[in-house]
């Protein structure tokens, strides 16, 4: 993730420590993948209560941009910054393979460099990526345009309505299970994930210019 952010922005991302209780001035907070606290409890459940999550909540409440990928997405749902939950994959096994994602809308900072309906490839690598929410919540987030990405073709982990990523109601917090950051260099097999990072950087540069 740091490599993808560095390559897109030309700047070194600031690393934050989980016990910090303040944030510096930032354009974007990214919660990357991993196994926070080993995920021995529910994935992301411990990290959602880390001291740093207080200022992250405040940042989001002030309209700040937050991206969570994989474990980062799990943490954002555990912290209730995003709707729904990530359950064990339907096949009960860890899945590491490429999947295809369909972009639901392109009028957000996360998806502006795609067209709605575009399909791109992204590696997925998770054991708990089965998106779940009750039917009312699913209806609501679909109705309000909070679905960011859906699995196109095979829905590997059994996610409800093939949802792979969601937005917050203000479209400024985004979480998804697959890893666009691992496909931003032709050497690693493609640049399918690059529009996410290029789009973010462009919107921040434009925002700063205004």
């Amino acid at each position: 993730m740091a490599i993808a952010l560095r390559n897109a922005s030309g700047r070194e991302p600031v690393m934050l420590w989980h016990r910090q209780d303040t944030l510096p001035e930032l354009d974007l907070v990214v919660l990357p993948g991993g196994f926070s606290h080993g995920d021995y409890l529910r994935s992301g459940a411990m990290a959602a209560h880390a001291p740093i999550m207080g200022p992250v909540r405040d940042f989001a409440a002030r309209g700040g941009y937050v991206l969570g990928v994989c474990n980062g997405f799990q943490i954002l749902t555990e912290a209730q910054l995003l709707p729904g939950a990530l359950l064990r994959n339907a096949g009960m096994r860890f899945l590491s393979q490429d999947c295809r994602l369909r972009v639901e809308r392109n009028d957000t900072v996360f998806t502006r460099n795609w067209q709605a309906g575009d399909v791109f490839r992204a590696p997925m690598a998770h054991g708990d990526g089965n998106y779940a929410a009750d039917a009312d919540t699913l209806d609501r987030i679909e109705g309000e345009g909070q679905v960011a990405f859906r699995y196109e073709g095979e829905n590997h982990n059994g996610s409800a309505r093939a949802i792979a990523g969601v937005f917050s109601a203000n479209l400024r917090v985004c979480g998804l299970m697959p890893h666009p950051e691992d496909l931003v260099d032709p050497l690693m097999g493609g640049t399918d994930g690059k529009p996410l990072f290029d789009g973010l950087v462009e919107s921040f540069v434009q925002g700063a210019a205004q």
Binding site: F35, G38, R93, F94, S96, P123, A125, L187, M188, G189
Partner: protein
């Protein structure tokens, strides 16, 4: 085994795995009857696992040097120069016995242990691989063991955030009661920041970091030094339990400490835990060590000195530190929420002295503990001459044989396994599992690529250990070559049966001889390794079954520019060229086993000079840009290799008539060595350059379409091949 303090005598020593002679040597060294704890320390240090007492005389014959070797065997892992001031640090190690008893934890802690061997030297781990051998798919136990081992490898590797990029899997009934789990880790360090294990500086503090010590894994090293009997399951309490998140913290904390000048020496607590780490560090440094066990972070109450010295609790390291840096080091481990305790100091006595609750529990001179460790040149029996394989007919035809072979357990797609390992975490994986003959990872902040592979063909080793040992090394070298990498060095993981049996010891000696010959011919030295003996199962009727001898080779190569690495996938509208000599060798071939049910004959012969010539040619062609895909030929021979390239590229091929003078099934499925398939836009140029280099080269056909068209005109669609190729694992595991 009771951990109560019992009277120490020869009978107890025997229970601890020491022979009468070994116990006699111990008494001479000590000049008195040892304490219970001392007996425990001797028994683990002199176990096969820690002392290499049966294998050392043979291991010494292996070549271990080259201009690019920085540290060969003897450190925690091997270190080679990869250029730009950087070093690759790597090793492979077995966790066979624990993985049979408790597959998940056995495999998981195998991954954890080998990671520590690598980062203890200052390297950030960048890739994991694993070489796995399981019992027959028909054995009802196999499914459970495959499931647990694969989950364990993934569970640990995925959580620590190191991509698992490659490996190999075989199935054979000889592994029914004794699967093999060989885990390999590769790391990268700056050459001027490599950390060694020899302790130095009398008075320097000895620091314990990582997890707390519990009663798990006591006498694991001794267990790994005896054959299995029907009570194997009762040994479950000797299996360790892993915590990959603590390992992740330990990696980060150690690397942070390593960026300072605090560390004098460091070693992980692996087999035989605190005993082997303290004894080896002090012994290598020629100093003494005093340990105060009251200071050891403990997970359980009431642990004895014996239990603490022999515990194999995971995720622990021992560090000799500069006294003026102790508080700086403590602050780093506090930050990462890991235990940090000064548990002793170095002395000038040349002895290890262990104190616990005011009593001296052990006081042993270190030099004789190492120098007078048992060393055996065990008897070897020559292998019986192989009956020649007579003519074999083709009962099924080429088409059916291909479909059978492409779906057989040793060739079928491993995607079901790989898909449970995170192969892309870190964003530096250039060639993922199955995409190329070797995995390729980019070295961060450079253009360099590391090529990585594990290889062994156990059925060849069983038939002819010298040839099979050499073939394992050559196969690794070929796989690195086939992506365009310059092969640098290997790590070996030698899995054999009971060395006290002359036929097994003969296999071991012959395999090492063959490995050494190949290493020398290819300038491909051994820089680290591990020996796992006593891989046999005792049945209730008293008979024993040895595993197929399995000297697994982990190979590492380097590419100046990772972007030059190529894969195996065919490109459309190009040409496929076969390089190397085809004679149709069917002895010990997969075709013979899968079609005729026979494991017979001599394995295909090796010509080491031809291997070198052919491989160097292929590498030069790849780096010269004339090759779009390359695959070396191994299991299943030519047609299986072509089918694998076609499936990987999603591109078919129309094949020309086979070479005359060889029956078609021998031509398509013989396993002649030293051969590569090259997909090229300009076949005439490549063939002409090969001819000038004295290498046989032959145009096989033009690529395109969506099937394999045989010279007979019959076409096997890629879809049919894929269906056959992908059926095996899901059918075995997801039922």
């Amino acid at each position: 085994m009771s951990t109560q303090h019992r009277t120490v005598d020869q009978a107890l020593a025997r229970e601890f795995g020491l022979t009468a002679d070994e116990y006699g040597t111990l008494l001479t060294i000590m000049g008195r009857t040892p304490s219970f704890t001392e007996l425990g320390i001797f028994s683990v240090m002199w176990s096969e696992h820690c002392s290499y007492k049966s294998s050392r005389v043979w291991l010494k014959t292996l070549p271990t040097t080259a201009p690019w070797v920085i540290h060969g065997p003897g450190e925690n892992a091997g270190v080679v120069d990869i250029g730009q001031g950087l070093a690759a640090i790597f090793k492979m190690e077995s966790h066979n016995h624990p993985s049979f008893i408790e597959p998940y934890q056995g495999a998981a802690t195998g991954v954890g242990g080998i990671l520590r061997d690598v980062f203890t030297m200052g390297a950030r781990p960048v890739a994991n691989l694993n070489a796995l051998r399981f019992g027959s798919p028909e054995n009802p136990n196999t499914r459970r063991i495959v499931d647990g081992v694969v989950r364990g490898v993934g569970g640990y590797g995925n959580c620590v955030g190191v991509p698992t990029v490659g490996g190999e899997i075989n199935f054979h009934s000889s592994y029914d009661g004794n699967p093999l789990v060989n885990a390999m880790t590769v790391g990268v360090a700056r050459q001027d920041r490599i950390f060694l294990s020899a302790a130095a500086g009398v008075g320097n503090p000895v620091v314990y970091v990582g997890s707390k010590t519990g009663r798990d894994g006591i006498h694991g090293a001794t267990m790994a030094s005896a054959e299995f009997d029907e009570d194997a399951q009762a040994k479950r309490p000797t299996v360790q339990v892993g915590d990959p998140f603590v390992e992740k913290l330990l990696i980060e904390a150690c690397l942070e400490l390593m960026a300072t000048d605090a560390i004098v020496a460091i070693q992980d607590m692996g087999a035989a835990g605190l005993t082997s780490s303290s004894v080896e560090m002090a012994g290598k440094g020629g100093v003494g060590i005093d340990l105060d066990l009251d200071s050891v972070p403990q997970r359980e109450r009431g642990m004895t000195a014996y239990e603490m010295m022999l515990s194999e609790s995971q995720e622990r390291m021992l560090i000799v530190i500069r006294p003026d840096r102790t508080e700086q080091a403590r602050a780093i481990f506090d930050k990462w929420e890991l235990d940090f305790a000064v548990i002793g100091h170095l002395t000038d006595t040349g002895r290890i002295v262990v104190r616990h609750q005011g009593r001296v529990e052990a006081d042993i001179p270190l030099a004789p503990l190492a120098d007078e460790a048992p060393l055996y040149r065990r008897p070897t029996a020559p292998r019986p001459a192989l009956a020649p394989l007579g003519p074999v007919h083709d009962p099924v035809g080429i088409e059916q044989a291909l479909v059978t072979l492409i779906g057989c357990p040793d060739v079928a797609s491993r995607a079901w396994v790989w898909n449970q390992y995170d192969s892309t975490v870190g964003g530096l994986t250039v060639r993922r599992p199955g995409a190329a003959d070797a995995a390729v990872v980019k070295v961060e902040n450079t253009e360099l690529g590391l090529a990585l592979t594990t290889d062994c063909t156990p059925r060849y080793v069983a038939a002819d250990a010298r040839l099979g040992g050499a073939q394992a090394v050559v196969e690794a070298w070929r796989n690195l070559t086939a992506v365009g990498a310059r092969p640098l060095a290997i790590t070996d993981n030698l899995n054999f049966g009971n060395p006290e049996k002359p036929d097994v010891m003969g296999q071991f000696a012959d395999a090492i001889t063959g490995m050494g010959e190949a290493c020398r011919a290819l300038d491909f030295p051994v820089v680290s390794g591990n020996v796992s003996l006593y891989n046999e199962t005792r049945a209730p009727d008293g008979s024993t079954v040895s595993i197929l001898p399995t000297p697994a080779i982990g190979g590492l190569g380097v590419l100046e520019n990772a972007a030059q690495a190529i894969g195996i996938g065919l490109r459309p509208d190009q040409f496929l060229v076969l390089l190397g000599k085809t004679e149709g060798a069917l002895g010990q071939s997969l075709w013979l086993r899968e079609i005729h049910g026979r494991e017979e004959g001599a394995p295909p012969p090796l010509d080491l000079a031809a291997e070198r010539r052919n491989g160097d040619f292929v590498r030069a062609e790849i780096l010269g840009g004339s090759v779009s895909a390359c695959h070396d030929l191994s299991d299943g021979g030519l047609l299986v290799g072509i089918a694998e390239m076609a499936m990987a590229g999603g591109v078919g091929i129309r094949l020309d008539v086979p070479q005359s003078g060889i029956s078609p099934h021998a031509y398509w499925f013989g396993e002649d060595q030293g051969r590569y398939l090259l997909c090229v836009p300009d076949p005439d140029g490549v063939i002409e350059r090969a001819r000038r280099a004295g290498i046989e080269a032959r145009l096989l056909g033009e690529t395109g379409g969506d099937g394999l068209t045989l010279p007979s005109g019959a076409t096997i669609s890629l879809a049919r091949l894929r269906t056959a190729h992908h059926a095996f694992f899901p059918a075995l595991m997801d039922r």
